[in-house]
Symmetry: C2
Subunit: 458 residues, 2 copies
């Protein structure tokens, strides 16, 4: 075949697209992968910080139950190491910084009881959601029409309890409780297993990291592919009919159009970006409506780098949550050897929106100011600072991923991964297990490949 023809053309060289490519190649198919960026990894990306070390500006954690990504990591000869956790965490609220152990800070007993009851209720409600097809569960329609914020205000009376739920929403969805539907929260919790898994570090989805950085997963997959990924090649239009698809892309270096033809396509980019391609014939109203509604989260992921992890010497594990903001959550993100010291600080939801279009230098001031409040004067003198405002990245337009506002899952959810002719949809959002996580991305790519291979077999 010519270099622009293949059995399958894949749009996006993130974990989903490359997982699809890997599965298709394993089955003997010829695959061409198009990537607008000059790198693989999509929403996982390593940033070198000198001395051979990297920090990850995108998805980074893996945890129990995420068998596909953990298996893939092993298969690729990569290793994981535990997220640093020795010592106490910090909690800031109403101008005071306190130390605590475990997942939930010491609060007044009323708030603690309320949070405990609330999280249990979320797990109970989530257990009623069928993550494979929530759109078919008409008995859950009220949850689809209610924002998570409205649910929190009805179920939480204490300020500390409401703050805790807001911070949890920011940490898990990079959104505010008012942005996301109650049904989306419950779908997402169900698709992972429980809210505890999403919030916990030890025993949860923040448990472990990948030595050398998670982008290596994509780098290794790409290295093993028969054909090199086509970088700086931005898909713009897809013409399709049964059994044939042509992807028109722009070579971003020359500005020239370049066409790729195949029997099938896998579109492995976030739904909102998939909605911005031009389709011919135009997509059905339901699929288009889905892409109008699935919104990308808002996060600026920042790494402040110190010559050493000074907080460890003070009995701190580097974790902090702040109800004051703008930094809401902090982790010790030092490399496995513990040098240099790295504090990962998230700006999420509204804080990320306010910061996304600022110059990086201003974001650095904001973040270092917060870290100093939390960790003391030693935090005021970093040796370096890097960050990524994902909403300003035109090939992501937000992270961690897409979420549903009210009124979206019920009428439009069925279009999330239903193929349209030869076009298949992948990406972390489209997975019914661990939706939004690297695990979901890998699963979604393999599922798209199975659709193609299965259909050919019949």
């Amino acid at each position: 075949m010519s270099e622009n023809a293949a059995d399958c053309v894949i749009v996006g060289a993130g974990l989903a697209g490359l997982s699809a490519a890997r599965a298709l190649e394993a089955a003997g198919r010829e695959v061409v992968v198009l990537e607008a960026r000059d790198r693989v990894g999509g929403r996982t990306v390593n940033e070198p910080i000198g001395g051979g070390e990297v920090v990850e500006l995108g998805g980074q954690w893996v945890g129990p139950g995420q068998d596909s990504i953990l298996g893939l990591i092993e298969e690729l000869g990569l290793e994981t190491f535990p997220t640093f956790g020795e010592g106490r965490s910090l909690f800031e609220r109403r101008g005071k910084v306190r130390r605590y152990r475990g997942t939930i800070p010491r609060l007044n007993p009323f708030a603690l009881a309320e949070i405990g009851r609330g999280l249990s209720k979320i797990n109970r409600m989530a257990s009623r959601v069928n993550p494979d097809a929530p759109w078919g569960q008409h008995e859950l329609a009220d949850w689809d029409r209610t924002s998570f914020d409205s649910w929190i205000r009805r179920n939480f009376r204490t300020g500390a309890g409401r703050d805790a739920m807001r911070m949890a929403t920011e940490a898990v969805w990079a959104a505010e409780p008012g942005d996301v539907s109650l049904l989306h929260v419950l779908f997402y919790v169900r698709s992972a297993g429980s809210i505890d898994l999403l919030l916990d570090t030890e025993g949860g989805s923040q448990e472990a990291r990948v030595t050398g950085g998670t982008q290596l997963i994509s780098v290794r997959m790409a290295e093993q592919m028969a054909r090199p990924v086509r970088f700086r090649t931005a898909a713009r239009a897809i013409s399709h009919r049964e059994g044939e698809v042509v992807v028109e892309a722009e070579d971003l270096d020359s500005g020239r159009p370049v066409e790729f033809s195949a029997a099938d396509a896998v579109v492995a980019i976030p739904p909102v970006l998939a909605g911005r391609l031009t389709y011919s014939p135009a997509l059905p109203a339901q699929r288009d409506g889905l892409t109008q509604r699935m919104i990308q989260g808002s996060v600026v992921k920042t790494m402040t780098i110190y010559d050493r992890p000074f907080w460890r010497e003070q009995g701190l594990n580097g974790r902090a949550v702040s109800a004051e903001g703008p930094v809401s959550v902090v982790f010790d993100n030092s490399p496995p050897g513990g040098s240099p010291g790295v504090l990962l600080a998230f700006l999420e939801g509204d804080a990320a929106r306010r910061a996304a279009d600022l110059p990086r230098e201003q974001r650095r001031e904001i973040v270092v100011g917060c870290l100093s409040r939390l960790f003391g004067d030693a935090a005021a003198a970093p040796v370096d600072y890097v960050d990524k405002a994902w909403a300003a990245d035109e090939w992501a337009r937000g992270c961690y991923g897409g979420f549903m506002p009210t009124g979206a899952w019920m009428p439009y959810g069925a279009a999330l991964r239903a193929p349209i002719g030869p076009i298949h949809w992948a990406g972390a959002e489209t997975s019914s297990r661990w939706a939004g996580y690297m695990e979901g991305a890998v699963r979604s790519g393999r599922r798209a490949a199975e659709e193609i291979l299965g259909a050919a077999g019949t």
Copy 2:
């Protein structure tokens, strides 16, 4: 100037784009208007039904307070005539069809009192919204986080009251109460003046129609332009820097790219479609986030045509509202002379979503079935049927217009019409008065023109 260069390039030949063009030409500017369709009018469109008569498959009504569009109609030598209203209206709920007079059907007194109180409360709350900048009113943040559905369930106890509010939401926003934020409802009401104006026919925004159809407004404006509109020319990409803009479009007949350059651009298409153009440099995160959040409404506008308006002979005005659906609202939409008889039936919100991707023949069956239930056997034998599923139209992707889900107005509203370098934003959604109406579209185009002319003057 060459035909592809101008002072201003305008994307979209609907009421907003043409109003901008008209204002700019009046001030001596050279303007080129690009239109993807083969016609002007955007979301207003005439459909000939024989005998020199037309029906309108898009926006059609004008009413008191809509001074810009009414003035423009007069200026263009067009005329209006009153929406037919002689006789009684029909109301269907729980399998029964009843006759009534006025705006609100006869219901039980509890429901009537509740609806009265609810509408007053909406007007009171709306009066607190500043339609020019609701995003600056942080005291209204709770309204932004709450879906209209949650508000209705808190404020309405009777089934009839809740049904009435659902039908009103469908009629005004082509959305379900669960889709739209409370703040958006209040902004929209405030931008028109009162909820009564939005719901009423006589004395309200459904008061009058335009002889020959509203598309004539755009047709006349286009006829008077110095340069002809460039049809079948779909904008795809906009490169910009201060004082210069290049719009790259696709000639849809040849498939070839064609470039237009100007000092300024006016993008006069719905926000979600504006978000699907490729911008270079990429747009700021806030503007992009807005386009991720402003969702197009869901409506199938249908016209069922009879040899004569038989309902008039039965003392009916052709209006009906049904809580049963799928048709929710019906109007007598016969031409001014009363022949043929035309019933306008709306499928809106979820009903429109279910119907948008069906074959027209199936929609006809659905609609004629509903009309027969409401108007009796005579309605079962139409002579013709036409409709338009706006969500399936790739140059609209929904109607009547864009609405905001929860969590959108506060963080993103400021990007709705703030120019970005030489790019100005128009369209009915961007108006602070009569947002979403033809009136708002005309105002938005003139406002965009003023931005350009005003800036040049300073």
